[in-house]
Symmetry: C2
Subunit: 396 residues, 2 copies
Amino acid sequence: MEVSEKMYKLGTKRSAIRELFEFGKRKAAEIGKENVYDFSIGNPSIPAPDCVNEEIKRILTEEDPVAVHGYTSAQGDEATRKAIADYLNKKYETEFTPDNFYMTCGAAASLTIVFHSIVCSNEDEIMTAAPFFPEYKVFVEGTGAKLVVVDADKKNFEIDLKKSEELINEHTKAFIINSPNNPSGVVYSEDTIKALAELLDRKQKEYDHTIYLVTDEPYREIVYDGVEVPFVTKYYANTIVTYSYSKSLSLPGERIGWILVPDEVKDSKAVYAAVCGAGRTLGYVCAPSLMQKMLVKCVGQTGDVNEYKKNRDLLYNELKEIGYNLRKPEGAFYMFMEAPNGDSDEFSKRAMTENLLLVDADSFGCPGYVRISYCVDHDMIKRSLPAFKRLYDSYR
Amino acid sequence: MEVSEKMYKLGTKRSAIRELFEFGKRKAAEIGKENVYDFSIGNPSIPAPDCVNEEIKRILTEEDPVAVHGYTSAQGDEATRKAIADYLNKKYETEFTPDNFYMTCGAAASLTIVFHSIVCSNEDEIMTAAPFFPEYKVFVEGTGAKLVVVDADKKNFEIDLKKSEELINEHTKAFIINSPNNPSGVVYSEDTIKALAELLDRKQKEYDHTIYLVTDEPYREIVYDGVEVPFVTKYYANTIVTYSYSKSLSLPGERIGWILVPDEVKDSKAVYAAVCGAGRTLGYVCAPSLMQKMLVKCVGQTGDVNEYKKNRDLLYNELKEIGYNLRKPEGAFYMFMEAPNGDSDEFSKRAMTENLLLVDADSFGCPGYVRISYCVDHDMIKRSLPAFKRLYDSYR
């Protein structure tokens, strides 16, 4: 092979989700789209709030056309970073400045840039807790470092701190958490965050080097029943926050997000400089300018999250009633369900015979479970219920 | 240092262009913006063609709001890739299909993705010819490979093929060319492209492995007096084209471009797969979706290039008249001028005393010359001419 074998493999290996997607397309052609129940894709199903398109049109009509589409500074438009700082400061009583933020082309960019900025050697390890977003492995390994996974706490899908402690060692560079969680829908509790902060702080003293807590929180605003997502910078000084507007503003294709390096981070100016350097090396010149300018007005808004709540409530109640073992998610738009016989690979395949597309959570580091994305048409959920019932009954 | 030293350095080192920019800002505050003649920045000064904003507004008004801002496939929207293939096929009599294209977040992304996809070892070398865009070094070194620079051919700023041949060795993985060229404004002639193709073909046979010719051509449509830019895939089979709409559509902030892997490339499917894998590893999920959708209608359009031509003609004729030694650029929006005493560092500093901001071409691998960006207000050029005259006279 004359190209990079590593890149070739990453470019050819089909994900389980992709396989399901292709199956769904074939089936839809065969038996009609309305008879395929696709719970596999984690794309927002509600439109962006009106503010987004209205503001884009206003900018295109009223503002200097050369500046609108021009380069912003590499860190991002000053007005955009100020709007974000102001919003967070008001909501969380923090004291961020525009200079704490670096605008990015979405969550994946935020994560790759942070990992490239903090990894110093191939011996470095970055930890996460199962279940976790599978691309973490790709992004971490892209830096030469190793992703170390803490097994899932299957009781309540918080972070297993005892197992975490066993795995932390002198090579541990960072711990990455994702809350509200994809795929479990869990919002890590304040107690969990406090205990994790205590553990990391103890360990960074023991090893005499910084352990960063990287939080990946594109689902922050997608929560139900008034659940509060703890703002992690308030619990642990060496926290780096990564964010994206893909889910909150329903803009996954527009690639717009940010990295927050608070002043409390040790040598925060050096960390921020390394973030700038990593962005440059990876080819991120600036975040899309029109979207940055739109944010000045639309920061803090969301699509109609109540639509997801309606889906969650219907699906959770009905599946529980049928007899499935699953937990009620507090956030994001995923439900995590145990395979009735414990074999999630077999279960997701058997589900396909009922035209139900459920993702085996093996790739999320949690075999035995499936992920059900309920960012779907409400009527599709209704239509799918008899299929879920037949599927369950087939195990009795 | 607890962060990556390499990334920290890249994030803190100020470029010569940035220094000039800061100087210009200070001076403008002091003596008025109209008295500072800033020829340092390579940003389009003409607005995007009307089609762009009109089409964006139409899409936002008429199309499904969830799909408009939704993820496209990693390769990019099928309709967009088809529009690009159709346009090139018609213009250059090629036979590309949508599957030859991979949409990216602009030229820098195109280049980093290509470099990461083809580099297999830290011994790999990627060559370019001076003068060259300085970020090539950052992007190539980000893969672990080495950038090898062929000294400039100062007679006509084509590629010095004799020196190129001396530098090609068993580690040479690719040769990257940029035409129309930043900073020289040269469009490499068909003879040069043919001779380079012949050289690379001979060398890849000699070393029995592929040498890719990577072309970076964001300035392709910005040419004057009917000059033709040879389409390199027609001259050399193992050509990978990288492109961006930053210059042709005046959209540098929007981050939209593509990579073209023609079928003629050896093992083209594997190369394309490696491109997909590299995009994934670097955190590029998809190119901005709204901009992709806009392109279906606007591919092949440009801003009013005649504005640049007017600037070029005025500035070239006047500087020549004053006595400077410079070449008339056929493309892009840069002019390359010799420092009267041969010391471009001293010359660009002395120019600052006349409030003329000219970039020392040392960082472009070509000391002794300065780059003059004429993507500026036409009246600023007129106002600057006495300063250019005094500067020249100071060397007599």
